[in-house]
Symmetry: C2
Subunit: 426 residues, 2 copies
Amino acid sequence: MRIMPAQQFSITREVEYGSPEQNESVQRIIKRVREEGDAALRAYAKEFDGIQVGELRVTQEELNDAYAKVDAVFLEAIREAAANIRSFHEKQKRNSWVDMQPDGTVLGQVIRPLKRIGIYVPGGKAAYPSSVLMNAIPAQVAGVPEIVMVTPPATAGEEGVNPYILVAAAEVGIREIYRVGGAQAVAALAYGTESIAPVDKIVGPGNIYVALAKRSVFGAVDIDSIAGPSEIVVLADETADPAYVAADLLSQAEHDEMASAVLVTTSERLAGEVQAEVARQLEELPRKAIAAQSIRDYGAILTVGSLSEGIDVVNRLAPEHLELMIAEPWNSIGLIENAGAIFLGPYSSEPVGDYFAGPNHILPTNGTARFSSPLNVDDFLKKSSVISYSKQALLANGRKIVALAEHEGLQGHARAIQVRLDKEGN
Amino acid sequence: MRIMPAQQFSITREVEYGSPEQNESVQRIIKRVREEGDAALRAYAKEFDGIQVGELRVTQEELNDAYAKVDAVFLEAIREAAANIRSFHEKQKRNSWVDMQPDGTVLGQVIRPLKRIGIYVPGGKAAYPSSVLMNAIPAQVAGVPEIVMVTPPATAGEEGVNPYILVAAAEVGIREIYRVGGAQAVAALAYGTESIAPVDKIVGPGNIYVALAKRSVFGAVDIDSIAGPSEIVVLADETADPAYVAADLLSQAEHDEMASAVLVTTSERLAGEVQAEVARQLEELPRKAIAAQSIRDYGAILTVGSLSEGIDVVNRLAPEHLELMIAEPWNSIGLIENAGAIFLGPYSSEPVGDYFAGPNHILPTNGTARFSSPLNVDDFLKKSSVISYSKQALLANGRKIVALAEHEGLQGHARAIQVRLDKEGN
């Protein structure tokens, strides 16, 4: 792991827009799903995955069978994680509100859940039961009445879906699950087919085809942010334990070759110790090849002259995950401008947040913490403004509204007010 | 204006993705601005608008001069409108929060403003001072410290910017204004040039090139929703005044040829009277040609058998603006699922909200009220999760976190917890 000065390092990778061929392919898939519906979904399962899909919807029997395949420790852990995630997101709930004015006017915001959302869950090795909880629970807390899940069949040649995914879905009460993946699944959620009713919003990560399809249907439906490669920054001083720092950096690096793990430290000694620890711990990792490439290409140990300089570096990097392994983390949190999730102190290892504590693990990546947020309850709510203007208010302010409309050359707007002033006014 | 059964009508127009030529042109413009900076902005002003731009930034002197060009009635009206908009948006402010758990763990959400945002203000006939207020004030209330505005020079051959736009900007305290428009302005805001520092988010409507450029830079920066054609639905019963209904429908229709104005009514009598009133009032409108085409192509009077059926139609249409001109509008508001802004009763004419009452006039269009909201303070805030896990919590839950990580095949995640359990545990 390179030790280098902070100024020379950036973790922002170019946003992935896909090749022209990939974009064309996605457009073709979307068009065919809109035209042919379920038949297109079955044809693509055959063509891309070599799978002959019969019933698109996962049956209640399959859900029951899935429970028989998962062990008790997993079930207990995921139930407790779900309760923690629910508890954290419950605290984000909001009320509609009204403001009653003395002239009789009432203004306000009605805040309501979306009606129907779709969760994309990747198949194969990237099938994470924890992501099912992290996507579904905020929507449920928001009050979304219909939550549907799509996920590719588990392995080529089989029609089954990963039982851990099914159990996670069943545990949070999702009963409408379709075995369909890729850009075709996104198209089905956006526009509907005979079997799948269209949704209002699509969330959940996927490969480049899924990402391009989501970008393309945005506008017809809402989407969450496009997930980019993941990153962690650990800001540490001389009080940090190098074994903990190294383990946390590697827990991020093992995600994929594009992941970025960065230590920012005021301590030259710690820099050297973490460097040695990373090399040592890397040897023991089953996903060593992935983690080693990530560390080589996107990892760094950045030394800084002061904590304040370190915080400037953190704000510039705007990391998805930030760990503060410094003596007084609460004294610095007010200075952190950009970070998806902030982990304080030696016991707040990143996997605590990935799996269990309650906050969401779907976080803004690739520097987008500058302007984006963790997935949260607001992502499944929408607002409507409410305006109940009183006669008194209209008579008092009508002339000003007319003046503003006329200044913008919108005589029709002015007349809508004037017709009322003429009839009701003095 | 056609009278027709509700089932046969839809206001959703296809989302505009531009022609391949327009998309290529936008990509070329963005690339050149990233490579050549200010020089590219000046070259495009010359090429597209025939304008030789000297200083890109509008000077304090120009702002002062603008005040001399606007009348006192406008100034008074816009000041009062700004105060109302500020007051409404102040009520949307939110606090960061923490949840202290009995085992010493602290979880929470830090809620902070974005640091720097850019507002695009169209030039020419679509230059609306009211939109400057509606974009800028929510950002200010959120606490955004740097707000910058871009707008094309007013008319071909001149370097000036519309004085009403400048005064509106100055009134809300925007001092950083650049005379640059089109896709090149969006590129400059997203990536920065010598004169213009990059922003975190771009808001404000524009032509198809501006919309495509915003769609393209999304990811590098945040954007607001892509503005589509505008619409109004009036839900009225026999108590409604046909002259008011017709005037409000026309105030929407005059916006542009793609705008949609729809009456949904339980009263056959009202349907006929509004039809006649629209024909009569249309004759008097300066923007008659635009409004007539909008009414012909996208306008309709839909008759329904009951109020409840009417509300179903409204929810299916998901209009940007909804007026409830019915006897008891507050009794029905709870049934409205999809609408950008809801106007209640005879005095809440749409222009009241467009200009003056306080709620935002930037609303979800083209059916997107199903999942989108009016522009609001949240659009300029971002959240960071906070996790301060206690030693006690880690020792109590570590094994479950390890189990979940191992089930997902992420041994590096499991080890980040295990290394702590081994060292601190029992």
